[in-house]
C-alpha cells in the first residue's frame, strides 16, 4: 500500500529528522523495530495557526458570532439549538469556538470558548515508539482529507478554502424502543472531519445532542501502520496471508482540550471532583470537592470519581459532568510520559498551552505538556480549561488487513440542570398509591400468613410501607407484603401507610387472630370433657337410642 502524495511541498529537513530518528530506534532495538512506517509528506512548517478563542467578549445572549469563520447552527425538533464557529488549522484540524447551546424555550447559553483534539498518541507495544500525531504531523492542512458524498450521506459538506473539509449529519433519535413514560431519545448533530496520518484515517467527530450533551469521539480506519519481521515477537500478531510480518499491537491515547465558558461570564466557572466512597456499612456518601487550583487528577474506579464544571458555585447551578466511562484501557507510562498518570486536568486558559504534549514545538514560550500547565495556579476568577483523555489498546486481527476495520472511542460531556424545568409542578401528575389489602383480616395461630402485596402504585414508584402493631409473628416484607406465623390470639389494630413520596394512602386494619381450636380442630383433652357434658344432659343417650 502506498501513500498517495496530496501535498507538493516536502520539508527535507523534517524528513531527514525522521529518518535519523528511526535509525536511532533501529540501533536501540534491532530485533523489534523493523518498521514499515510511511513518512507522511510534510507541509512546510508554519507558525501555529491563530486560536479562535474569543474569550468572554461575546455577549452571552447572541449565539455564535463568527466573524470571518464559518457558522454552524442546528435547530432540533424539541426547539433546542446548537451554534458554533468552525475553523481548521494545520495541527488540530477542527477547532470549534464560541459554542452555544439554546435549551428549548430558553435563552442561548454559552458553553465553550473553544473545543479541539489536542493530542493523539500512538504508542507501540514493541518499544518506546510514541507518535504524537497532532504535533509531529498534524490533522489539518495536507493531512486533512477532502470529503466526498459517501463520507457524508444525507448530510452537509462544509467547505473551507474551497475544499470539502467537514461534514455535518443530523442523527434522529437512536430509535430504540421506549415505553410511553420514557424521555425521548435525543436527536443530535455530528460534525466531523477526516485526516490521513501515515496509514491511519482518523475521523474526529463532535456530536451535539438536543438535550445539551456533547460526545467527542474519534474513529480510526485506514490500515495498520507498523509491523516487525520478528514473527515470534510478543508485540503483535502475524495475520493470515502475510507470513513474514507481525503487525504490532499499540495504544491510541487521545486528549481533548475543552475550554469551558459557562454562562454570562467565562471566569466564574467552578470545578468539582465528585467521589462516592464506600462506607463500612455498605452505603456510599457523596464527597464533592471544589478544585481551587490547577489540578491533574486520575480516575478512581472504586469511588466512581467524576468531574463537574459548573457555571457558578451555587447549588443546582447549570453545568456539565465528565464521567470517565471509557476506562477499560488506560495507558500509563510513568517514567517516559508522566502526564499519562492522569486523566483529567484543569488549567487556567492560556493560548500558548495548546497541546497535551510536545507543546514547545510550536509554543516555545510555554510549558511542554498538560502536566506542566497544571502547576497550582489559582482557579479563582479564571477562565478554565478542562482536559480529558481516553485510551484504546488495539490487538490486530485478520479483519484489520489490508484495510483496517474502523475502531471507535468516545466520551460524554453530560449536561446538569440545563434543560428548563417545566413551570407547572410535576407532582400533580403523580398517581397516588392505593392500599389493596382488605381492612378486615383474620389469621390463625400457627398457620403461616403470606400476603404478597398490600398496595399498588400505577406509576410503579418505589413505595415506602409502614405498619404499626402487626400481630405478633407477622412482619412486612421487602417487597411490600406481609408474612410470618401468628403466635398469639386476639384482636389487633394495624395502621398501614403507603407512600410514593408525593402521596400517601393509609388504612386501619382490624386483625382477628384465633387459636387453632377455634378453627374446627378439636384439641385432644377437650373431647372427653365434651362427651361427659353431653352424656349428663342426656343428649348423647338420645342419639344412642336412635
Amino acid at each position: 500500500m502506498s501513500c498517495t502524495p496530496t501535498q507538493t511541498g516536502i520539508n527535507l529537513t523534517r524528513l531527514f529528522a525522521f529518518v535519523l530518528w528511526f535509525s536511532v530506534l533501529g540501533a536501540i532495538q534491532p530485533a523489534a523495530a523493523q518498521s514499515n512506517v510511511q513518512i507522511p509528506e510534510q507541509a512546510p512548517e508554519q507558525a501555529p495557526a491563530p486560536l479562535n478563542d474569543l474569550g468572554s467578549q461575546v455577549p452571552a445572549d447572541s449565539g455564535a458570532e463568527c466573524g470571518a469563520l464559518k457558522t454552524v447552527t442546528q435547530e432540533f425538533d424539541n426547539g433546542a439549538r446548537w451554534s458554533m464557529c468552525l475553523d481548521s488549522n494545520e495541527r488540530e484540524n477542527i477547532v470549534l469556538s464560541n459554542v452555544f447551546y439554546t435549551p428549548p424555550d430558553a435563552q442561548p447559553l454559552r458553553v465553550f470558548g473553544s473545543l479541539r483534539l489536542s493530542q493523539l498518541h500512538v504508542v507501540y507495544d514493541d518499544s518506546n515508539v510514541t507518535f504524537h500525531d497532532v504535533t509531529q504531523f498534524g490533522l489539518g492542512g495536507a493531512f486533512r482529507v477532502t470529503l466526498n458524498e459517501d463520507d457524508c450521506p444525507g448530510g452537509t459538506l462544509l467547505n473551507l478554502n474551497g475544499e470539502a473539509a467537514a461534514c455535518t449529519l443530523l442523527n434522529k433519535a437512536a430509535n430504540t424502543a421506549v415505553t410511553t413514560q420514557s424521555a425521548p431519545g435525543a436527536d443530535s448533530l455530528s460534525l466531523f472531519s477526516i485526516s490521513q496520518v501515515g496509514s491511519y484515517a482518523y475521523t474526529v467527530r463532535w456530536q451535539f445532542y438536543d438535550n445539551g450533551a456533547l460526545e467527542p469521539s474519534i474513529s480510526a480506519a485506514g490500515a495498520l501502520q507498523r509491523n516487525t519481521t520478528d514473527t515470534r515477537s510478543l508485540f503483535g500478531r502475524v495475520l493470515e496471508g502475510v507470513t513474514d510480518k507481525s503487525w504490532l499491537s499499540h495504544t491510541h491515547n487521545y486528549y481533548w482540550r475543552l475550554d469551558f465558558d459557562l454562562g454570562d461570564s467565562g471566569t466564574d466557572d467552578a470545578v468539582y471532583r465528585i467521589d462516592w466512597p464506600l462506607q463500612p456499612d455498605g452505603t456510599r456518601i457523596k464527597t464533592r470537592t471544589r478544585l481551587t487550583t490547577e489540578t491533574s487528577d486520575a480516575v478512581q474506579p472504586d469511588e466512581f470519581r467524576a468531574w463537574d464544571i459548573m457555571d457558578t458555585d451555587a447549588p443546582n447551578s447549570i453545568g456539565y459532568r465528565i464521567e470517565p466511562l471509557h476506562y477499560g484501557h488506560r495507558l500509563v507510562q510513568a517514567d517516559k510520559a508522566p502526564y499519562t498518570e492522569f486523566d483529567f486536568f484543569v488549567t487556567t486558559h492560556n493560548d500558548c498551552e495548546r497541546f497535551a504534549s510536545q507543546n514547545t514545538r510550536f509554543n516555545p514560550e510555554c510549558d511542554d505538556s498538560v502536566l506542566d500547565y497544571a502547576n497550582g495556579e489559582s482557579l479563582d476568577n479564571a477562565d478554565l480549561v478542562a482536559w480529558h483523555r481516553i485510551s484504546f489498546h488495539h490487538l490486530p486481527r485478520n479483519e484489520d488487513r489490508e484495510l483496517m476495520h474502523s475502531h471507535h472511542d468516545s466520551f460524554l460531556i453530560q449536561p446538569r440542570n440545563i434543560l428548563p424545568v417545566s413551570g407547572a409542578s410535576a407532582a400533580p401528575n403523580n398517581l397516588a398509591p392505593v392500599i389493596t389489602l382488605n381492612h378486615h383480616q383474620s389469621a390463625t395461630v400457627g398457620t403461616a400468613v403470606n400476603i404478597t402485596s398490600v398496595a399498588q402504585d400505577a406509576d410503579q414508584d418505589t413505595l415506602t410501607i409502614t405498619a404499626d402493631s402487626l400481630p405478633d409473628g407477622l412482619t412486612l416484607t421487602e417487597r411490600g407484603g406481609i408474612t410470618g406465623t401468628p403466635t398469639g390470639t386476639g384482636q389487633f389494630t394495624t395502621v398501614l401507610t403507603v407512600s410514593d413520596n408525593f402521596a400517601t394512602d393509609e388504612l386501619t386494619i382490624e386483625w382477628r387472630v384465633i387459636g387453632a381450636s377455634q378453627s374446627g380442630v378439636i384439641p385432644p383433652l377437650t373431647l372427653p370433657f365434651l362427651l361427659l357434658m353431653l352424656w349428663r344432659r342426656g343428649r348423647l343417650r338420645v342419639r344412642h337410642a336412635n
Partner: protein
Amino acid sequence: MAMHANVRDSSHMTRPTFIPWLVLLTFVWLTPPVGAQSLRCDQASTAFEIAFDSGAGWQGCWRVDPIGGLTLSSVHYQTPDGNSRHALAELGLGGVLLHYDKNDSSQELLTQRGAMITGQPVCAGTTVASSDSLTTLCRTPFDAGHLLRYQNRQVKRQAGVRLSHAAKLGSFDWSVSYELLEDGTVRPGSTLSGRLGQFTDNPQHGNDILGADAADAIKPFAATATVVTNWRVDVSIGETFDNDIVEQFDFTSDNTSFDRRLMSQQTLNVETLRRTDPERFRKWRVYDAELSASTDGINATRVGYLLDPQPQSYRYRSNTINFAQFDLMVTVNNACERFILNNRSVYPDCADALDRFINGQLLADEDPVLWFSITRRIDPTLNDWPTLQPRKSQFSLIPFDWSQNSPFEQAVLP
C-alpha cells in the same frame, strides 16, 4: 453503497395457529440446515432475518423473556460472500443490580421486580417486526459510520440493525437493544429512563432536584444509586457448541526496557471470576477450536469474538454480594443457570446465585458462557425530574479472525 439495511420481516413465524405450525415444522424439518429459511426457533421465539446490501446479514430468533426481557438465540452471521456461521447460542440479561447509596445492599431488579413484559413499548420511527398484546420488537436500520476509509479512495460505510424492546422495571423504563452490524459485531445495550423511584431526607445520599415539587415531597432528595447491568453471553462459534475456548490477554509493561508491552495469553480452564485490569489492557477472547488453526501461540488464526471491557470503568462493591466486584465470569452452560441472583425463584432445580454456578467445573470440551457487567451511576439533576434523562450503556463483541482479511475491502480497493 450500502447505506441502509434491507429489512425483511419474518412475521410468518410469529404466532402460527396449531395446524399451520405443524406443517411449517415438517417443512423446517425436511429442509437441510443452511441459511435462514431453515432456522428453527423454539415455540416461544420468533425468527428474524437481516440482509444488508453487501450480502452480509444475520439470522436468529428473538423472544421477550418474562423475567430477562429481550433475548436473542441461535444467532447466525452471514459474510458478504454468503457463508453463514453460527455465532451466539443465546444473548440476554443475566441481572440488573440496583443499589441506592442510602442502602447497605442492592436489589436484583429482574427477579425481584420482574415482568419485563409489562408496559407498552413505543417504536417511534421504526419498523415493528412483530407484535401481540404483550411484546413489540423494534427493528431499526442505522448507519454505523465508516467501516473502511483510506486516502481519497472509495468509502465503505457500515450498516447495522438495532433490535430493541422496552418495559417497565419498577418505576424505571428499561430498554434492551442489540445492534447487529454488517461486519459481524454485536453490541448489547440497555437504556434507563422513566421516573426516579426513591427519595431520601439525607442530602448525603441524594440530590435536591424537585424544584417546585419539593414542597409536595415527603422526602426531598432524589436518591443516588449504582446500576450494574450483567449480560449473559453464550458465544457459540460454529455448529459444535462444546469446543469454544476462552482466553484472557494482558499486555504488561516491561519497565526495564523502554516500556515495552509483553503480551500474555492465558486459557481459562476452569469456571472463574475475573476483573478488568485497565493498565494491562486486559481483554477476553472466545474462539472455536475446530474452525481455528490447530497451532498454538499468538499468531494462530482464532475464529471467535473479542470482548473488550472498554465500557466497564467503575468498580462496584457490595457487602452482601461478593461476586459483584468481578467484571467477567465464565461458567459451563447450564440452561437453568440464568440469573445472577434469585435464580432459584425462576429455576428451582438450579443454584441460586452466580457464585454458586462457579463451582470448579472444567471448561474443556464444554460450552462456555460469559457473564459481563457494566456499572453506571444515577446522580440525578434538575433535568431528571419528572422523567429521568436516558442513561445508556453498551459493549461490543468484536469478530476476530472470522475471515482471512477484511471481507469488505473489495468494495474499496481498486
